[in-house]
Amino acid sequence: MSKFSDLTRLPDARGHFGPYGGRFVSETLSFALEDLEKTYMSLRNDPDFQAEFDRDLAHYVGRPSPLYHAERWSRQLGGAQIWLKREDLNHTGAHKVNNTIGQALLAKRSGKPRVIAETGAGQHGVATATVAARLGLNCEVYMGAEDIQRQKLNVYRMRLLGANVISVESGTRTLKDAMNEALRDWVTNVDDTFYIIGTVAGPHPYPLLVRDFNAVVGREAREQSLAQIGRLPDTLIACVGGGSNALGLFYPFVEDEGVHMIGVEAGGDGIETGRHAAPLSANAPQGVLHGNRTYLMSDEGGQVSSTHSISAGLDYPGVGPEHALWKDVGRVEYVAANDKEVLEAFRELTHVEGIMPALEPAHALAHAKVIAPTMRPDQHIIVNLSGRGDKDILTVAKIDGMDF
């Protein structure tokens, strides 16, 4: 028992994490969510379902992913030992596939022939298109027009996989608007469509099931830590947009009070400039968007703010409701890394370790750079390297003045 044991029993029956979460949706969606909840709850502890999930993770995704000791980088930073949980080595190149495998199995059981998804950086879209191809499901992915511009490679990948990528021109033309459009599609086509949400946000039961499917990351990391380090790590660091890779890593450690956890949000141009995507670090007010109550960046009139981040995958004004609670109870520390620090970390890991991270986990790496030198060499940090950086090459090249 730990003082945080209560956190493992959430959400409650109505999807609340303390004051956060819930199911704030139009009545037109209630049926679909009740149906999904019923399906998931009946399978959550079903050994056959879990075995099928584990088999796919092993043979299709390539799990377990390694826990890699970044010895050279650690030495260079001159402090704690940094270990990278290599989610970038998963099939499709990010942690996102853990969740899409799980939800695709639910879709298969529901018998619906069509899946839809929203995507920001395109990693969730690619992971969805991938499982749809494998199961022979029709797949449509909603993506903000601005994100389509900055993630062209992933857009083409999705098309090669047979998915139809739909450009979303409304609102801020980024992830939140893609999610609005996907929800509208689902309301309209609920009879034959399964909505694969990519993060631990959205209405209940999505924050629960996306967390569950990603928790394999933390379970593995915990075992690997015991085997390779000989004890639990001192600190976990993960980037937080909606927060699925962070919850996946953190959740299995929640009762380990000695393990400090840090979520790193997108600081954009800097919290003080207002041009960021860091609702937790900036202490944004409580609000309701996309079916859940959480910390939400909005203006005085309650209109959702536009956000800014170098990484499309973190460019979201809200955050998963479980993170909101973990901030309030002090289980996780939330900080922000700004675009400039993120780019430095991206380049540094690439040069020093020969591993090119996605810009999203480069936020976590940027914070590791800050704290590792303040720690002793016999202390250990695990950073969730949640995705690989190939998709971001064009973004970085543009900053370098290269044009392909």
């Binding site: 704030f24 949706v25 509208r184």
Partner: protein
């Protein structure tokens, strides 16, 4: 501020029942195409036969709305239309019309940001009669429902074709004023009405509640209004009206005339 007497919505439906008439309920988005036009549009709608006016509160992320109302929200938000402005519009409307019920319809976040207590108080003081919060099902209404009740604001809820019997019972237990039955799967502004199926659904809802049952989504002209009017206590029309405004953004007088023309067509069709 109205007294502790009957809510205007209940009064209006009682009168309509005596007259054996079907309620005609238009929806427009407050502040579309600019805040100066809304009160005039509301009076025009009433003049042409509206029994209740639904006023949309624009939101940056209107998840349950189709493109027509999304764009109306964007037009209104260009003018930074806020809840306080919308309540002032209702107050201005009330100077010349103390009878027609006004229902606000929108999403939860702007209300929460204003403060639910402040919103309920000021809405009641402005002459609002009911509120429909699109993204707040009864299960999540524990905080807001008592506040609305205290200020004599009716909580209006949606019922969908996919709503289960168990949920319908919960919604009926919480709903006041009228139930808003969503006639089809989809977002606002979609097509394809199935009147037989609507009739069947309304029949089962009547087993659960005695409040009026109004139908929205897919009603766009006199014919569709009349068809639904055969089976419902009221018809709600939104996107068809908002499209008229969209087509005449630069000509508000023309927009007003077109709103009136469509309302009159529906009124006549309903009363025929």
């Amino acid at each position: 501020m109205k007294g502790a007497g009957m809510n205007r919505i209940d009064q209006r439906f009682a009168t309509l029942k005596d007259q054996r008439r079907t309620a005609l309920i238009p929806y427009i988005t407050a502040g579309d195409p600019g805040p100066a036009h809304t009160v005039g549009f509301m009076h025009a709608l009433v003049e042409a036969g509206a029994d209740v006016v639904e006023l949309g509160m624009p939101f940056s992320d209107p998840m349950a709305d189709g493109p027509v109302i999304q764009k109306a929200c964007e037009r209104a938000l260009k003018h930074d239309v806020r809840l306080t402005h919308i309540l002032a519009m209702v107050e201005e409307f009330r100077r010349n019309d103390d009878e027609t019920p006004v229902v606000l319809m929108g999403y939860l976040n702007p209300m929460e940001r204003m403060g639910l207590q402040a919103f309920a108080e000021q809405a009641a003081a402005s002459g609002v009669d009911g509120v429909l919060v699109v993204d707040m099902p009864p299960e999540e209404a524990d905080e807001i429902a008592p506040l609305f009740k205290e200020h004599h604001l009716h909580s209006i809820f949606l019922v969908a074709p996919t709503t289960s019997k168990e949920r319908a019972a919960i919604i009926c237990a919480h709903g006041e004023g009228y139930l808003y039955y969503v006639s089809l799967k989809g977002v606002t502004g979609a097509a394809n009405l199935d009147v037989a199926s609507i009739e069947h659904q309304l029949d089962s809802l009547r087993q659960l509640t005695s409040i009026p049952l109004c139908v929205g989504f897919g009603i766009r002209d006199g014919d569709t209004a009349a068809a639904v009017g055969q089976v419902a206590d009221g018809v709600i029309v939104g996107s068809a009206l908002v499209s008229r405004i969209a087509e005449n953004c630069d000509r508000p007088e023309r927009a007003s005339d077109e709103l009136k023309a469509l309302m009159s067509e529906m009124r006549q069709a309903l009363d025929a």
